[in-house]
C-alpha cells in the first residue's frame, strides 16, 4: 500500500503557503521546541494528573518508539508532531460552526477560539491527533500571567486549540514588511519551535516559493509526509535520515 498521493497528482491543486521541514535524524528530543511553543503561545500547564491522562496542552510533542529488544534496542528517530496544516484537512469540514476553518489568505488551518463551541469533532477527525482541548480553566497563579504573549489569545475552558504555525509572527512580519513597502524575506521570521531548536532540526518557511530554504530542503528525495495516503496534503515534511 505504498501509493503516494503526490504521484497521482492531487497535491498540485492546492499548494500550501507555509511549511515546516523536520530533520528527525538531528532532532535530539530535547523539548526546547515544546517549551518555546508553550511560552510563545500561552499554553496552559495542566498538572500531573491531567497530563498523565492525555490532557496536556502541548501543541507540539516529540514522539519516539522503540525497535528491537535489549541489547539490540534502538530508539526510533524523534518525531516532532504538530499540526500539519493540511491542504485538505479532515478537521475542517466536520466543525459545525466553522471554528476550524481554512485560511484562504495564509493557507493554514485556523482554529477560531471565540467561535468554538467545543464539539471536539475536529480533534476526533484529526489523523495526527495534534489538537488539544481546554478541559478546564487551568490555573496560572499571579504573577505568572505577566509572561503571557499579548499577541495570542488566552484560551478558556471548552475551546479547542492547536499549533498555528505562530500565525501572530506571520502577521507581524507581513505587517512589518508592508510598512516598509517590501515583501517578506525568507528566514526573516520563523516559528517559536524552529527558532529555539538547538539542532536546527525544524525549518520554517514558504513552501510555495521554490527558492526558499524549506522548498530546497523539501526537494531532497527522502522526505516523507505523514499519512499522506489519506489525502490530507500536509505541509510538514519529515526526513528520517540515518
Amino acid at each position: 500500500m505504498d501509493i503516494k498521493i503526490s504521484e497521482v497528482k492531487l497535491s498540485e491543486e492546492q499548494a500550501g503557503k507555509w511549511g515546516l521541514v523536520i530533520d528527525q535524524d538531528i532532532c535530539t528530543g530535547c523539548q526546547a521546541c515544546v517549551a518555546a511553543c508553550a511560552m510563545e503561545n500561552n499554553l496552559s500547564f495542566v498538572g500531573e494528573e491531567d497530563s498523565g491522562y492525555g490532557r496536556s496542552m502541548h501543541w507540539i510533542r516529540i514522539e519516539r518508539f522503540w525497535e528491537g529488544e535489549y541489547p539490540e534496542v534502538k530508539m526510533t528517530p524523534n518525531q516532532p508532531m504538530m499540526c500539519q496544516q493540511c491542504g485538505s484537512a479532515p478537521c475542517e469540514p466536520v466543525c459545525p460552526v466553522f471554528a476550524t476553518v481554512h485560511s484562504e489568505a495564509e493557507q493554514l488551518n485556523l482554529q477560531v477560539y471565540n467561535r468554538c463551541v467545543g464539539t471536539r469533532y475536529c480533534a476526533n477527525n484529526c489523523p495526527y491527533q495534534v489538537r488539544s482541548f481546554n478541559w478546564r480553566d487551568y490555573e496560572r497563579p499571579e504573577p505568572l500571567p505577566n509572561q503571557l504573549n499579548p499577541d495570542v489569545t488566552v484560551r478558556r475552558r471548552g475551546v479547542m486549540e492547536k499549533c498555528t504555525f505562530c500565525i501572530q509572527r506571520i502577521h507581524q512580519a507581513q505587517d512589518q514588511a508592508k510598512a516598509e513597502g517590501r515583501e517578506v524575506v525568507d528566514g526573516e521570521f520563523t516559528t517559536a519551535c524552529a527558532q529555539a531548536c538547538p539542532a536546527s532540526a525544524i525549518i520554517f518557511g514558504r513552501v510555495d516559493d521554490p527558492e526558499s530554504l524549506v522548498s530546497q530542503l523539501g526537494r531532497r528525495s527522502h522526505g516523507v509526509k505523514h499519512l499522506e495516503e489519506l489525502g490530507t496534503l500536509p505541509n510538514v515534511t519529515y526526513f528520517k535520515g540515518g
Binding site: 518508539f65 459545525p96 476526533n124 489523523p127
Partner: protein, 475 residues
C-alpha cells in the same frame, strides 16, 4: 403438531380465542374508558416514592452535575486525548436508538396494519419523544461551551456567519430537531380523541388541562376524517424521517477519517441497532406498565409480548447480519490500523465488553425468543429486553470511546475512564423514567379509541367447524 393445535383450538374454541386476543375480547366502551381513566388516577405511595427518588436522582445526576460541569469544564468528565467523545455521545446514540421503537411500532405497524400494535402505540410513541429529550440533553452536555450552542442554528447575523452544512453534526441537529418535532406531532394526533374522552370524564384542573390538549375535539365525522388523514400523512412521512435520523447519526462516525468508523454500512447498521434497542425498551416498558398500572392486564396481553418478541428475534438476526457484514468488510479492508482496532475490540482491556455485547444482542435473544411460550412470558422478555439494551449500550460504547482509543498515532493511544458522565447518564435515565411516569398519570397511556376501533373491526366467524377471525376495513 398441526393436529395437536387444531385439537386444542377445538377444545377451547371461541372462548380461548377471546381470552387470548384483545381484539376479540371487547368490553363496553364506557367500561373501557373508565378503566383507562382509573389507571390514570391511581397512584400508590410506591408510585410517589419512586417518583420522588427519580426526581432526586434527576436533580442531582442531571442538573446539579451538569451545572458543575459547566462551571468547571469538561475536565470533570473522563474525556481525553484521543477519546474526545465519551459516554455523552454513547448516551446520545443510545437514546436516539430508543426513540426509534416508538415510530417503528406506531408508524410502520400502522401503515402495514399490524393489528396487535393497537394497545401500545402510545406507550411506544411516548418513548420516542422522551428518548429524544434525553438524547438532546446528552448532546448538549457533551459540548465544551454549551451556552453558545445556538450558534449551531442558522440565523441571520451581521457577522455573516452560518453553521457549516458540511458537518455531519449540523445534519444531526437538523435531523434530530425534525424528528423531535414530527414525533411529538405524531404522538399528539392520536392522543386527541383520548384526551377528549378524558376531558369528558374529568373535573377540576385535569378538565382544564385536557380541554386545552383536546383542541375542542368532539368526535364529529368531519373531525375524525381530518384526524385520520393527518395521522395517515404523518405515519407515512415519519418513516423516512426515522430512517434518516439514525443514518445521519451514523454519519457522525462513518464520515470521519478514522479506522473503524469509516464504514459504508454504518447507516443501516445503526438503524437496525436502534430498532434492536428500541424494541427491547418497548417490551420492558410494556412489562412494567402491565405489572404496575391498574387495569393494564386487560389491554396488554401475552399475545403482544409474543408479537414483539417475534419482531425482536427478526431484528436481532438482522443486527447480527449487519454486524457480521461490517466486521468482514473492515477486516478484509486490510488497513493496519483498522485491523489493530478490531483486535483491540476483542482482546484489548475492554474485550469483555465486546463478548458481552454479542451474547446479549445475539446469543440470548436467539436462544430465548424462538420459543413461543418464553416470549409470551412478560418477565422473560423483560429480561431479554434489558439485556439487549445493555448490549446495545455496550455496542455504542465500543464504537465511540473504545474505538477512539486507537488511531493512526500510536503515541497517543489511551483508554477512556468515565467520570461525571456516570451521574449524568444515570440522570438522563432517571429523567426519562420520571417523564414517563408523569405522562402515564397525565395522559391515557392506552389509545382507547384505537383499541375500540380494532375491536369493532374484528369478528369471529364460523365456517363449518372452523372458527375464523375476520377483520373488516373501517375506512
Amino acid at each position: 403438531m398441526a393436529e395437536k393445535k387444531n385439537h386444542a383450538e377445538h377444545a377451547h374454541g371461541e372462548e380461548h380465542l377471546r381470552k387470548k386476543h384483545l381484539m376479540l375480547d371487547p368490553l363496553p366502551r364506557g367500561q373501557m374508558n373508565a378503566m383507562v381513566m382509573e389507571s390514570m388516577h391511581t397512584t400508590s405511595w410506591k408510585f410517589w416514592a419512586v417518583f420522588g427518588l427519580l426526581a432526586a436522582i434527576t436533580a442531582y445526576g442531571l442538573f446539579y452535575s451538569w451545572g458543575v460541569m459547566i462551571a468547571e469544564g469538561l475536565g470533570v468528565a473522563g474525556v481525553n486525548r484521543p477519546a474526545y467523545w465519551g459516554i455523552f455521545l454513547v448516551n446520545t446514540v443510545f437514546w436516539i436508538g430508543i426513540s426509534h421503537a416508538g415510530t417503528f411500532i406506531s408508524a410502520i405497524l400502522r401503515v402495514f396494519k399490524a393489528e396487535f400494535r393497537r394497545p401500545f402505540t402510545r406507550a411506544a410513541e411516548l418513548m420516542t419523544t422522551f428518548g429524544l429529550v434525553q438524547a438532546g440533553f446528552s448532546i448538549f452536555m457533551h459540548m465544551g461551551r454549551v451556552w453558545l450552542s445556538y450558534w449551531l442554528m442558522p440565523y441571520p447575523n451581521q457577522r455573516m456567519l452560518w453553521p457549516n452544512l458540511h458537518s455531519p453534526l449540523s445534519w444531526d441537529l437538523l435531523a434530530i430537531t425534525t424528528y423531535l418535532l414530527s414525533s411529538t406531532m405524531y404522538l399528539f394526533l392520536p392522543l386527541i380523541p383520548d384526551v377528549a374522552m378524558a376531558r369528558d370524564r374529568s373535573t377540576g384542573w385535569r378538565k382544564t388541562f385536557y380541554k386545552i390538549l383536546a383542541l375542542g375535539f368532539r368526535g364529529t365525522e368531519g373531525e375524525w376524517t381530518h384526524l385520520r388523514n393527518a395521522m395517515n400523512i404523518f405515519a407515512w412521512a415519519i418513516i423516512p424521517v426515522m430512517f434518516s435520523v439514525h443514518t445521519i447519526v451514523s454519519w457522525d462516525f462513518a464520515a470521519a477519517t478514522r479506522p473503524g468508523w469509516n464504514s459504508t454500512i454504518f447507516g443501516p447498521y445503526f438503524v437496525v441497532g436502534a430498532l434492536h434497542s428500541g424494541m427491547g425498551a418497548v417490551i420492558m416498558v410494556l412489562a412494567i406498565v402491565r405489572g404496575t398500572m391498574k387495569n393494564m392486564k386487560y389491554f396488554i396481553r401475552p399475545e403482544h409480548f409474543e408479537a414483539i418478541g417475534k419482531l425482536m428475534l427478526i431484528i436481532s438476526m438482522t443486527w447480527a447480519y449487519f454486524f457480521f457484514n461490517d466486521y468482514m468488510v473492515q477486516w478484509y479492508g486490510g488497513d493496519k490500523w483498522t485491523k489493530q482496532l478490531l483486535h483491540f475490540h476483542e482482546a484489548g482491556p475492554m474485550g469483555w465488553m465486546w463478548f458481552v455485547m454479542l451474547i446479549f444482542n445475539v446469543a440470548i435473544p436467539w436462544a430465548v425468543l424462538w420459543n413461543r411460550k418464553w416470549r409470551s412470558t412478560p418477565w422473560i422478555v423483560f429480561t431479554v429486553g434489558l439485556l439487549i439494551n445493555v448490549g446495545m449500550w455496550f455496542e455504542r460504547y465500543i464504537i465511540i470511546p473504545i474505538s477512539l482509543s486507537i488511531n493512526r498515532m500510536p503515541f497517543t493511544w489511551r483508554l477512556y475512564q468515565p467520570g461525571i458522565e456516570i451521574p449524568l447518564g444515570i440522570g438522563t435515565l432517571a429523567f426519562f423514567i420520571l417523564l414517563y411516569m408523569a405522562a402515564s398519570r397525565l395522559i391515557p397511556l392506552i389509545p382507547v379509541w384505537e383499541v375500540q376501533e380494532g375491536q369493532m373491526a374484528h369478528e369471529l366467524k364460523k365456517y363449518g367447524r372452523e372458527t375464523v377471525v375476520t377483520v373488516s376495513e373501517l375506512e
